[in-house]
Amino acid sequence: MTEASNYTASEILAILASRQLKDGQVVFAGVGTPLLAATLAQQLRCPGLTILFEGGVVGAFVEAGKLPPSTNDQRCTKRANMVLGSADVLLLLQRGYVDIGFMGGAQIDQFGNLNSSFIGDPAAPKTRLPGTGGGNDISSLTNMIVAMKHEKRRFVEKVDFITSPGFIRGGNSRRESGLPAGGMFRVITELAIFGFDETTRRMRVLALNPGVSREEVQDNTGFKLEFDANLHVTEPPTTRELQILRQLDPERLFTA
């Protein structure tokens, strides 16, 4: 594989996120980077990847250059295997048909809880964000991969509001809250790849992106990070990955 040298932060985010998926998995993907990354994986390495969308799509094959503006648009359904009601596609998560939920995030904390509802006090918010959509359902019911921008204000010790539950307060608190299945699996940013400690359920750095230092990751994070004993550096994007990604999103809707 030839290494690519020129890529945007959004591009490496999409490429590294796509590498987390395995052929044969069933993936519930949100719009934007997750949809793009899942489609990239499907075209590049995982022909048997099953992609589900919240609008009610099972087994999607999104066309290059025709990215849907949301997962509720007809473009999501072109040459899909099945279209069904949107409550019903969410029930597939509840029944257990889905291996991975794959979402973006606005704000995350050390236990992988996501906030997309309120900045500031929810009773008198500084900013009312758009809300959960299917995010709460997906993160409650399956294993999660989150792809998001890495900024200090987005990586906080405790989110202002738990919209989509990660490990809640760590330890067994997720299970004790009535969520016996799933949980945060990976967080991918333009700086690093994160997992979660098996016991404490705190976020830890598994790998650094090419050219990124431990300090840079910590400086951009609002809580104290742990680094995995086997910390390594991720392989950079290949020219092939970048080429297909750019074919998928020629208008740079999601990779500007």
Partner: protein
Amino acid sequence: MLEAQLEPYSRLRENLAARDRSLREKVMSLEEAAGLVQDGMKVGIGGSTMSRTPMALIWEIIRQRRQNLSCSRCIVSTDGDLLFGSGVSDHIITSWFAQGILWGLSKVMRHHVETQGKRYEEWSHMGVGMRLRAGGMGVPFLPMRAMLGSDVMRQRPEAKPIDCPFTGERLLLVPALNPDVALIHVQRCDAYGNAQIDGLQFMDIDLALAANKVILTTERIVSNDQIRRHPDQTKIAFLCVDAVVEVPYGAAPHECFGIYEPMLKHMDAYVKQVNADPVKGMQEYLEKYFYGPKNWNEYLELIGLEELLEASQRGRSIYND
């Protein structure tokens, strides 16, 4: 709050018993149909995000200056902006509320929720779905396994966490949602209201069953004969429907599966204008596109033939090989 939300079974049955559910023609004008929506009603809106939004009905309801509507929809897009911005609604129940992923946050929603005291009542997407499904099934609640442990649940005392009487597992019971009236846009239906829906159905089938009254707009009215040749393609039965209005491009500038995709030039311009000034920008938009036109076709003319044709070309392409 709970009592306002959950209709007792006896009242649901009385409402239904009083409806004329017979096989009868119910075609009317957009004005007449919108007139069925009264001030203060709970209004369920079909489609999702920018898809099959019953925009012509919302347009006419806003023109008729309805007030205090409590609206619900699985995912809200610019329809929510317009309902808040025009003053017809002060309460929206949904799981997601912005103009669309492409444009980030809605300054209109933010303005009305952060400073004007309007309520955006947030449930998870499945939460909205299970509430409508319970409403459609005629049961007061359904159990689900999401929302638990989150602040979304903590903000919703209307939902009750329980320990399952069979397994002891933690479950969330969400209360039925039975809108007073549902607004649904479909590709085709007959004069009695037997509706076919192509492609994504979203929560429209549950919504039609849950509501106490259903208004359909349709791209075209077809014969009952045509419907009855393929009865397994009927998605909404005539006996749930109270009004049928033929409105071509009735979801514009949003999409209608297989007929037109979203009119993104219009949407882009709209978002730029209202996010620049959620009050004045919105007022000007409403004057020009909502209050100004004499009828729906004049509104479509303002969007422009070129954009309609281009959106239609993209819309039909879903059926290309």
